[in-house]
Symmetry: C2
C-alpha cells in the first residue's frame, strides 16, 4: 500500500485543503493536487508517551498532523516550574510556520500517531497554494482563541472551577467526531494528575482532591484512574464558574 492510499483509506484529514469541517473529524474532500505533492514525501509514525517532539529553541524541520493521541505544548521557567500552554488533538497540526525554531516544547502525552511532512515541501506548496496558508492561518486563530480562553481559566477560576473546566475541555476535544452538545460523555484522561496540574497552574495534590470531590458529589465516575464517565454534562458545566 502506498502512503497516499494509506492516507486516503484511513479516512483521516491529512493536511486537507478543501474541507472546512476540520473539527468534525470526517473529511470528504481531499484535494488530490496538493495532497499528492505532500503525501509522496510524508511518513507516518507512532510515538510513545513522554517523547519530545519539538524542543524549545531547537530547529524544527517538519510539520505533522496529529492522527490520534494528544500532544502537550509546554513552556518552563529556568527553575523547573512548568506550564502546559496548549493541547493538540487529532486532526490538529503541529509545526512552526516561518520560523526555524519554536518557542515551546511539544511532547507526546499519550501514544500519538503522526503524519509528518518535510518543512520545505509544506512551505513550497504553501507558496503555490494560498489555500494551504489559509487553513494554517485559521488553525492558528483557533489556537489563539483557545490560549486566551485558557488564560481566563488559569488566571481567574478557582481550583474546583479549573478542574471542572479541564474535564469539559477534554470531553469536547478528545474525540471531535462526537456531538459537543451531548448530554453525557465517556473518555480517557490523556494526562496524568501532574500534567493536569501543569495545565491548570495547580499542584497535583489539589487536582486529586478536586477530582475526589467531583466524584463524591456524583458528577463524575473514575475507573482505573483514567477512565471518566460524566452522566450529566450540564452539572459539570455549572461547576466551571460562568
Amino acid at each position: 500500500m502506498t502512503v497516499q492510499q494509506d492516507i486516503h483509506s484511513s479516512g483521516i484529514p491529512v493536511l486537507c485543503l478543501s474541507c472546512e469541517a476540520r473539527h468534525r473529524g470526517a473529511c470528504g474532500a481531499l484535494d488530490p493536487d496538493h495532497l499528492v505533492g505532500l503525501a509522496k514525501t510524508s511518513w507516518r509514525h507512532k510515538i510513545e508517551p513522554g517523547v519530545k517532539l519539538i524542543g524549545d529553541a531547537e530547529a524544527v524541520d517538519s510539520y505533522s498532523n496529529v492522527l490520534s493521541g494528544v500532544v502537550k505544548l509546554t513552556k518552563s521557567l529556568s527553575d523547573g516550574r512548568q506550564q502546559i500552554v496548549g493541547l493538540q488533538f487529532a486532526p490538529d497540526f503541529l509545526g512552526r510556520p516561518f520560523k526555524v525554531e519554536s518557542p515551546i516544547n511539544a511532547e507526546a502525552a499519550t501514544v500519538v500517531s503522526l503524519c509528518s511532512f518535510p518543512k520545505a515541501a509544506v512551505e513550497r506548496i504553501m507558496k503555490e497554494a494560498p489555500e494551504l496558508e489559509h487553513r494554517l492561518f485559521k488553525q492558528t486563530l483557533i489556537e489563539l482563541d483557545a490560549a486566551r480562553e485558557w488564560m481566563v481559566t488559569v488566571g481567574r477560576r478557582t481550583a474546583p472551577e479549573k478542574v471542572a473546566s479541564f474535564l469539559l475541555t477534554i470531553a469536547r476535544n478528545i474525540d471531535r467526531t462526537v456531538d459537543p452538545a451531548a448530554r453525557s460523555a465517556r473518555f480517557d484522561l490523556p494526562l496524568t494528575r501532574v500534567d493536569i496540574a501543569d495545565f491548570l497552574a495547580l499542584r497535583f495534590e489539589t487536582v486529586s482532591r478536586q477530582l475526589t470531590r467531583l466524584r463524591a458529589d456524583g458528577i463524575i465516575r473514575i475507573e482505573n484512574n483514567r477512565h471518566v464517565t460524566v452522566d450529566n454534562m450540564s452539572r459539570l458545566e455549572q461547576r466551571c464558574g460562568g
Copy 2:
C-alpha cells in the same frame, strides 16, 4: 490633505505589506497598489480611555491599525471576574479575520488613535494579495506566542515575579522604536493598578504592594503614579524568576 497623504506623511506603517520590520516602527516600503485601495476608504480617529472598541459577541465591521496608545483585550466570567488576555501597541492590528464576531472585548486603555478600514475592503484585498494575509498570519503567530508566554507568567510566577515581568513587557512594547536591549528605560504605565491586576491575575492591592517593594529596593522610581524609571533593566529581569 488626503487621507493617503496623511498616512504617508505620518511615517507610521498602516497595513504595510512590504515591510518585515513592523516591530521597529519605521517603515520605508509601503506598497502603493495595496495601500491606495485601502487608504481611500480608511478613516482615522481618536479614542478616549475606557471606550469599548470591540464587544464580545458583537459584530465587527472594520479592521484597525493602532497608531498610538494601548488597547487591552479582555475576557470576563459571568460574575464579573476579568482577565486581560492581550495588549495591542502601535503598530499592531485590531480585528478578527474570517469571523463576524470576536470572542473577546477590546477597550482603549489609554488615549488611542486608530486608522480603520472597512472589513469588506480588507478582505477583498486579502483575496487578491496573498501578502496581506501573510502579514496578518505573522501577526497572529506573534500574538499566539505572546499569549502562551503570558500564560506562564499568569500560571506559574509569584506576585513579585508577575509585576516585574509586567514592567519588562511594557518597557519593551510601549515604544518599539527603542532598542529592546537598552540598559535603562523610562515610560508611562498605560494601565491603572486595577488593569495591571486584571492582566496578572492578582488583586490591585497586591500590585500596589509589589510596586512599593520594587521602589523600596531601588529597582524602579515612580512619579505621578504613572511615570516609571528603570535605571538598571537587568536588576528588573532578575526579579522575573527565569
